[in-house]
């Protein structure tokens, strides 16, 4: 279903909420696809999220440096990609049809660190 909205205003930098109501990152960047017929404007086909997507959008030397550091530190394969078909609703937050655990937003390392402290509740944490 094609829908017309101001991607910069209504999509970018909004909160992602997964199907279980967990906070799952921000809309850090958008994937645009050009239909290629030279007539239609490019379409948003996916939401990109994660520190690498964010750093890539800063368009400064600092942003590029940050991107390099983040990629190396977190050993990421690139930003997490959420195809638009997996978006349930667009409002003050973007509700997804997937679980946050399915997206690699780079929190594994923090989880391992914090999970070691007593009382972190790692045992019954579902992801």
């Amino acid at each position: 279903m094609a829908r017309r909205l101001d991607a910069a205003l209504e999509l970018l930098d909004r909160q992602l909420v997964d199907k279980d109501g967990r906070l799952a990152g921000k809309v850090d960047d958008l994937e645009l696809t050009d239909p290629g017929d030279g007539l239609e404007q490019p379409r948003v086909t996916a939401i990109l999220t994660g520190p690498d997507a964010l750093a890539g959008r800063l368009h400064t030397r600092f942003g590029r440096w940050l991107q390099g550091v983040v990629l190396r530190l977190l050993a990421r394969q690139g930003p997490a990609r959420v195809p638009l078909e997996q978006v349930q609703a667009i409002g003050s937050s973007i509700e997804l049809r997937v679980a946050a655990g399915r997206l690699d937003t780079g929190q594994g390392w923090a989880r391992r660190l914090i999970g070691r402290l007593p009382g972190a509740g790692e045992g019954d944490a579902a992801q």
Partner: protein, 410 residues
């Protein structure tokens, strides 16, 4: 009945939680140096925080979005990141000042050097952030903070000349011993102490933590409209006490003990004990609020799961941010920098950064996509816009005044 209790508890918590190290230092210092000549700024600051905190609470209750969510959405990734850096730095500085304030209160009670308490206080702050339920934490420190009412009792028992006080508050003059630059510098410091950005970060995130919805809008209003002004009265009591006791003695307060001096002179040991309990509770409570606010602002900017309503393992980056912030705050105090001076810089820089927080909030509070029919009324928009002008002016004037008055020194 339950709702009524909840409302009463919320108001009491808001009163006790209003004062923090910034108010203790700024109110006492301005009272001692300028008498009641700056009391009007306290009134302005309270009206400002009431207007904007109500907005923050309303947006959070209706849309579930806390303040730094909005900052990122309205300012975008780049400007939002700069805002995050500035806000985080100031909140961290405030956290360090609050931890120092807790340690100084303990020193006043035990005569043991405050630096020895700092790591213990840091650990306790972390432990509460890590384990204690949000409502319990919020209510307990807020209610303990009510011990500060003793300062107001001391003012009343000192039998001041109320008419003369009202006159000096309504006809402010710069004392002959003070420069105009110092007067306006302290005006900005007072404004910063009343409207510190972490207060709205914490208030709005707290609304989400307590799962406020549309049906809690009344609780939000009453908390803010009744609780904050009454809390502001406690800050005013500190100022009046200092004006009555310290100004005639020519004491320029540079230590927390001087904030308790008027109360102990008027009410004796019991008064002193209660004042110290109040100092301890309000700085400890604010340590928790600032530590959590450090985590809230970072997590909300990046969209990470945050909050005490989930297990720490489900919000690992938020918990890590809180932990690291507390460690940094403790480290800063352990450098032996004077906590009172850290406080002074924290509130003045807060004042300079106020528009960064309040502008995005004002924009969103007018957006029906977030609030439906609950957008700002015309009256609150008029007042809030006027305030924004004041905040921008204060922000622009801060650094020049800091230089001209040698950071209030003379």
């Amino acid at each position: 009945m339950r709702k009524l209790l909840e409302i009463a508890l919320g108001i009491l918590t808001a009163i006790g939680g209003f004062v923090d190290i910034g108010d203790l230092v700024a109110s006492t210092e301005t009272g001692a140096r300028f008498g009641l000549g700056l009391a009007w700024v306290l009134l302005v600051g309270v009206v400002g925080i009431v207007i904007y905190a109500e907005m923050a609470g309303r947006v959070a209750s209706v849309s579930g979005r806390a303040v730094f969510d909005l900052v990122r959405e309205r300012l975008g990734a780049g400007a939002g990141l700069l805002n995050l850096a500035a806000s985080f730095f100031i909140t961290l500085l405030t956290l360090a000042a609050e931890i120092g304030g807790v340690a100084l209160s303990l020193q006043l009670a035990t005569s043991v050097n405050y630096l020895l308490f700092v790591p213990v206080v840091g650990f306790l702050v972390w432990l509460v952030c890590w384990r204690v339920r949000f409502e319990l934490m919020d209510n307990a420190v807020g209610l303990l903070g009510l011990a500060l009412i003793v300062v107001a009792v001391a003012v009343w028992r000192a039998h001041p000349d109320w008419g003369a006080m009202l006159h000096s508050a309504t006809h402010p003059v710069v004392p002959t011993t003070e420069s105009h630059a110092a007067y306006w510098y302290f005006a900005i410091a007072l404004l910063g102490s009343a409207m510190t950005p972490y207060e709205v970060f914490f208030f709005s995130s707290g609304a989400v933590e307590q799962r406020w919805t549309r049906s809690d809008l009344l609780v939000n209003r009453l908390n803010v409209y009744i609780g904050f002004p009454l809390g502001g009265l406690l800050a005013l009591a500190l100022m009046v006490a200092a004006a009555l006791v310290l100004e005639p003695l020519g004491i320029d307060p540079s230590h927390l003990s001087q904030a308790a001096l008027p109360t102990s002179l008027v009410l004796g040991r019991l008064g002193l004990a209660l004042a110290l309990l109040g100092f301890f509770a309000c700085t400890f409570g604010a340590s928790l609020e600032t530590a959590l606010s450090c985590g809230y602002s970072i997590a909300q900017y990046f969209g990470w799961q945050w909050g005490k309503f989930v297990k720490p393992a489900q919000a690992p980056r938020f918990q890590l941010a809180v932990l690291v912030s507390i460690a940094l705050g403790v480290g800063l105090v352990l450098t032996t920098l004077d906590p009172v001076q850290i406080t002074e810089y924290a509130i003045v820089l807060s004042a300079a950064a106020l528009p960064l927080t309040y502008l995005p909030l004002l924009i969103v509070a007018n957006d029906p996509a977030y609030l439906g029919g609950k957008v700002n009324s015309r009256l609150s928009n008029a007042i809030a816009s006027l305030f924004l002008v004041v905040l921008v002016l204060a922000s622009v004037a801060t650094i020049p005044l800091m230089i001209a008055s040698k950071a209030g020194g003379g």
